[in-house]
């Protein structure tokens, strides 16, 4: 499974939304019905899945599907 697919899968699971709603430009709060606690949980799930640590100041910027994918891709590339 690609990084992109895995991120989308986590979002579907954690936010309980249909997979076709999880488009690249979807905003967690505005489009996918998340609240502030959901976004914390999402970031936690990303950390767990990809074995990275996401500092709070970075986490604040991860507000869309696209932002999550590009942030994690960058983070994973650095790790390699």
């Amino acid at each position: 499974m690609s990084l992109e697919e895995k991120v989308k899968e986590i979002i579907v699971e954690k936010l309980g939304v249909a997979a076709d709603k999880v488009k690249e430009d979807a905003h967690f709060i505005e489009d996918l019905g998340a609240d502030s606690l959901d976004t914390v949980e999402l970031v936690m799930a990303f950390e767990e899945e990809f074995g990275v640590e996401i500092p709070d100041e970075d986490a604040q910027e991860i507000t869309t599907v696209k932002a999550a994918i590009s942030y994690l891709r960058k983070k994973m590339d650095q790790a390699d």
């Binding site: 936010l15 309980g16 606690l37 936690m44 767990e48």
Partner: protein, 412 residues
């Protein structure tokens, strides 16, 4: 003006039925809800059975996302609240939401959530503790969630008094209506304590029956061979309503909440006061509050936990208060079938009392085999008994010495 409080809706989740109808049918059949624990592997525990809710489902009431953010105790409260509100026939679009509140308690709260998240903390550290941990665990969250779901904007909180929790919730809710703070109250209790820590704690206290070879015979209130209580789980929710409010909308009125008696033993953390002294005053106070003569009480739904001490002391308390009339009443402990629901006990047992009044049938105390000379009242052994039931008292007594009795009466 004197405001009267009536019961207009009920919902129940128990080991013998996942709705009020199924629960009542089970009670009349003397159905036994006790069996081996399935929620986790109990092999290491001195007690390995409990009265678990079977085939629990929140389909159509909670979606996956909502349910993931709730402890089991809240999930069960949501399902029972849904049933109670539907049963009330109330059109939620038409009520004054500011005058509708919720008081729903839990003796322990989200102990499963606590254990799960504590496990993550031990294994992976504090950064892995869910942001939902606190709002899942706290024992007031069922009350909050019910208000959010139905837009009930009146008084909202939980009570906590161990096994007397739901009776305190219901008593407070009735008084909020009586004092004019609300016209409608959704009230009761919920508990989901069958977890490794919940079981371990009660096992260590030696409070539980250890009849592992015969779980179905373990909850035997007032029987000479009783050896402790059986853990149960579930929820009971009632819709209380101011009488004129209920009449105006043509509601079905089950019964009237007539009297409330709250006292403390001020004696010991877990042991009841000698002679059930605190229980005597709580039952008496409920009758005084309802301006009812003691000899008009037909039924007591006993706390009847099946522990050696409770049943002996409760019997002594009933005899001390009612004198000769104690032998003319029916008493039963429905814990014989559903186990001890702790903070939800007072709610499901008040539902039993209401239904006894409605149907003029007393549900039995099952597993009654051997008379105990210290427990010599009519405990309605093994089979239901028909009789006219005008007034019933639901007894609950909690660790900490909390006593809460609710007097409920036929509505006339």
């Amino acid at each position: 003006m004197h405001r009267r409080v009536v019961v207009t809706g009920m919902g129940a989740m128990t080991a013998i039925g996942n709705s009020v109808k199924a629960f009542w049918e089970g009670l009349l059949q003397g159905k036994n809800g006790v069996g081996p624990i399935t929620h986790f592997d109990p092999a290491q525990f001195s007690t390995r059975f409990a009265a678990e809710v079977k085939n629990f489902s929140f389909d159509g009431i909670l979606d996956v996302r909502e349910s993931n953010r709730m402890d089991r105790y809240t999930q069960m409260a949501m399902v029972a609240a849904h049933e109670a509100l539907q049963d009330s026939g109330m059109d939620l679009e038409k009520i004054d939401h500011d005058m509708a509140g919720v008081v729903v308690g839990s003796g322990i709260g989200g102990i499963q959530s606590f254990e799960t998240e504590h496990g993550k903390y031990i294994e992976k550290g504090p950064r892995r503790v869910s942001p939902y941990f606190v709002p899942q665990m706290i024992s007031d969250i069922a009350a909050g969630q019910i208000s959010i779901r139905y837009g009930l904007k009146g008084p909202n909180y939980a009570t906590v008094s161990a096994c007397a929790t739901a009776s305190h919730a219901i008593g407070d809710a009735a008084r909020l209506i009586k004092y004019g703070d609300a016209d409608i109250m959704v009230t009761g209790g919920s508990e989901a304590p069958i977890t490794p820590m919940g079981l371990a704690g009660f096992c260590s206290m030696k409070a539980l029956s250890s009849r592992n070879e015969e779980p179905g015979k373990a909850s035997r209130p007032f029987d000479r061979e009783r050896d402790g209580f059986v853990m149960g789980e579930g929820a009971g929710i009632l819709v209380l309503e101011e009488l004129e409010h209920a009449r105006k909308r043509g509601a079905n009125i089950y019964a009237e909440i007539r009297g409330i008696g709250f006292t403390a033993d001020a004696h010991h953390v877990t042991a009841p006061a000698p002679g059930g002294e605190g229980a005597v005053r709580a039952m008496r106070r409920s009758a005084e509050d309802g301006k009812l003569n003691l000899n008009e009480v037909d039924y007591i739904n006993a706390h009847g936990t099946s522990t050696p001490y409770n049943d002996k002391n409760e019997t002594a308390a009933i005899k001390a208060l009612f004198g000769d009339h104690a032998y003319k009443m029916n008493i039963s402990s429905t814990k014989s079938m559903i186990g001890h629901l702790l903070g939800a006990a007072g709610a499901v047992e008040l539902i039993v009392s209401v239904l006894a009044i409605k149907h003029n049938i007393i549900p039995p105390t099952i597993n009654y085999e051997f008379p105990d000379p210290e427990c010599d009242l009519n405990y309605t052994p093994n089979v239901p008994q028909e009789r006219r039931v005008r007034n019933a008292i639901s007894n609950t007594f909690g660790f900490g010495g909390h006593n809460a009795c609710i007097l409920v009466s036929k509505f006339e």
